[in-house]
Symmetry: C2
Subunit: 472 residues, 2 copies
């Protein structure tokens, strides 16, 4: 849990040593704190031809209290900001050597209809990237390629991925770069997701692509008064594997956002679970989720009031090359990480325990995306989780239930603390943040997916990996 | 173009040095040679419950002349092989220390309907992986997840990706591991693709997932007599950027497979292009593909006879961070690598120059998938190529035209020879083959996609990267 290199290079002496030796200098990431403003500073706006999301963007600028400045590509913004009663000005590049004042760069690419139109993105990021401060945010807004009318439009929108991922790798300094695709008529579902990617809550989420659809709920509809400090107020949430590590962090963040939390863990972790739940005023339930009768017992324990949010976090590893792996080592990993989730969801959905409009969030892994040496069982289970999300999302739409997954990269936990130093260091540095993430980074991402305002986000896999180089 | 480390560690002295220092020992990959048998040795067959592709697999075993042995998971194979008049036996593990005799491991997972059924894959690969020889082949056959009837089936099929990618990372020794998803009623389209993944032609293609659909052509239909040594006989193929490097290799392989080749390159490369085309008995055409009138001129030059295959290989890089990139550096990369392809295809399709049943193959890049520092322009253009493939595939179906892309990783060319040694070495070793690929590896992959027997393969992106660690 202790990245001593990160601390060292961010000390006065360590910074000088790192500079003189040309060592990487990972930034101390700015993370969400309840005692500090969530949004602060300037947001620079750019746009391609015929931008379609500026009104939705204006709503977010207003609700976050950010001050906007318009790049010359976004000539429409000034008049529009005035209509929305927003303070705005023109973007001026930061002088070399001066403190970079811009907190976020947002580009509306939704109207770009062919590859030639991509030039506007060059102009915006060429002019503005150096003015973006440490731990700044880059967000590009596009149209979901699969919804585009012509191959040329689809192609241009798909091209944004390559740009956004490259920007993340160039920007460094704790800056994140993400792409949000908005389907037609889904503009009213943008706010919750855009706020997340602009906030310090998404400190370790970079290089990601999220698709927003019109959803079937109205929770994110314009005009709703959402309490962004307590977006989960009145919601009941279940977290499996909640006693320690990432699960405990998830329970903590959900509770901090107002949820009433039920933690589940194995009987042998009962005391730790109780200790974790106590300060959250949560409920501790001891179950072996892999037991045949666990789904029915969990459904019964949750009772007729039901739940709004179910986070499938519990998981195990039993790493061995397949030639040396035991049959039980294979079976248990698949069963606990994947099959148990299937059995529990089937039971909760059949009994109506998960309410209509609910949220299922699963924990996958970069191993499930890229595969990993010694993890045939774990990678298969986590790839299966991706299949669960993709297959169930369409089926759950009628009940306004969303299902998504997060895929953590290198997260500093008691588990990673046991990895040999050289491998641990490689895992920590091989990403755009040059450091491992924290359990709270996974938890914040899950909390965003669990919010009522995420009604338009379903079937998505979001990596929490600091834009790890690893992938497929 | 010269991986001296690879040569060194595969010399008697170098091998001893590498062993004593614990250095990686990349395998000299076995590549296709016209003067050697394409298929040789044992193929071990495994299967999950109710396998549905064993008949199609038997056709391929027969046509390749491989000798099959059945793992105990594939009890049905023996009787089926007898029906197909195939020599077969039971799989026996290679004794420790003995020469591993198995050339390929193929598992039919198509009938697996839930995550518990994945246990059969463990049993097969646990028993067989150590018996697989150097440069062996792992192929798992599954059902396209998106076509599955139930979420549980979709989930189990999707889980195969995690397993196959992990096996590639574990197996090493020049072994490739790939996953072929076969849609319902597409069994007759499997042969060309399965042959490619079993052949030495796919030496540098690993960790890939290819989806096969029923297609609309009948070229791969059972009963057709396909000349697998000259599958492109009678076909006319165009390759852009054909003067040198990967383009010249593509032209060479297409010609070797029987195609009549037309090479296109810029006027300044005219002499090199003529030299490349001469031994292929090909035609050299000098055009700047980015010129406004190029599409019409190319269509005119190809004439009314038209072409069957168009390979969009021409591309440029102009690497700079976006803050330092010139507007023209951005524009030219997007225009040549992406927009020119769009203009040319539009012209050829409108004029009917690309015949019905034709093949379009584009060259993307790992940068287009993962993004890259200093390549915002290149990555956007190559991500756009992916969008082109995905958007046009459905539209071209009515004309039985397929469109696919290859995404090369680190390929040894004159361009990569100029990369500083340390970065070049990192690029070379960060993949499951611990070496860079060769232009011929990209060319062989394109030739497979261009074959008549690939009628069921469209809208696919196939990396030629030795299972590079890099991705998204």
């Amino acid at each position: 849990m202790n990245d001593s290199y990160l601390k060292f290079v961010n000390s006065p002496l360590g910074g000088r040593v790192a500079r003189s030796l040309g060592l990487p200098k990972p930034e101390v990431l700015r993370r969400y704190r309840a005692d500090a403003a969530e949004f602060d500073g300037l947001i620079a706006i750019g746009a391609g031809r015929a931008p379609q999301l500026l009104d939705a963007l204006a709503d977010v600028v207003k609700s976050t209290g950010l001050t906007s400045v318009a790049h010359e590509s976004a000539g429409l913004w000034i008049a529009l900001a005035n209509r929305h009663s927003l303070m705005t000005g023109r973007f001026e590049p930061t002088e070399p050597g001066a403190h970079a004042r811009v907190a976020a760069l947002v580009f509306d690419a939704s109207g770009i209809e062919d590859s030639a139109g991509l030039d506007a993105l060059y102009a915006f990021f060429h002019d503005t990237l150096r003015s973006l401060g440490k731990c700044g945010r880059i967000v590009v807004l596009g149209r979901t390629p699969e919804t585009c009318d012509t191959p040329r439009q689809w192609t241009a929108q798909r091209a944004l991925e390559g740009l956004v991922r490259s920007l993340g790798k160039e920007a460094r300094r704790g800056i994140t770069s993400n792409l949000i695709y908005v389907a037609p008529h889904a503009e009213h579902q943008l706010e919750g997701t855009l706020r997340f990617f602009l906030s310090a809550r998404s400190a370790y989420v970079s290089g990601q692509v999220v698709r927003i659809d019109a959803g079937s709920g109205n929770a994110g509809a314009a005009g709703d008064a959402i309490d962004w400090a307590q977006p989960l107020a009145g919601r009941r949430a279940v977290v499996t594997g909640a006693a320690r590590g990432i699960g405990a962090a998830i329970a903590g963040v959900l509770a901090a956002q107002g949820a009433q939390v039920v933690g589940i863990d194995i009987p042998s972790a009962h005391d730790a679970l109780v200790d974790t739940m106590r300060p959250l005023a949560g409920t501790a339930l001891s179950f072996d989720i892999a037991a045949a009768d666990a789904p029915a017992q969990i459904a019964a324990a949750l009772g007729e009031t039901g739940v709004d949010i179910f986070v499938h976090n519990a998981g195990i590893t039993k790493d061995k090359t397949i030639a040396k792996m035991s049959e039980i080592g294979w079976h248990n990993v698949i069963d606990i990480n994947l099959s148990a989730q299937e059995r529990i969801d089937d039971a909760l959905l059949a009994a109506g325990t998960l309410r209509d409009g609910g949220r299922i969030v699963c924990v996958s892994s970069i191993s499930g995306i890229a595969g990993n040496l010694g993890q045939t069982n774990y990678a298969a289970s986590k790839a299966g989780v991706i299949g669960r999300v993709q297959s169930m999302a369409p089926q759950l739409r009628a009940r306004r239930i969303t299902i998504n997954a997060v895929a953590p990269g290198f997260i500093e936990t008691q588990m990673t603390a046991k990895i040999p130093l050289a491998i641990r260091e490689a895992g920590r540095r091989m990403n755009s943040m040059s450091q491992g993430g924290l359990p709270v980074d996974v938890a914040q991402t899950i909390a965003w997916l669990a919010q009522p305002a995420s009604a338009g986000v379903t079937g998505q896999i979001v990596r929490v990996c600091g834009q790890s180089l690893l992938g497929a």
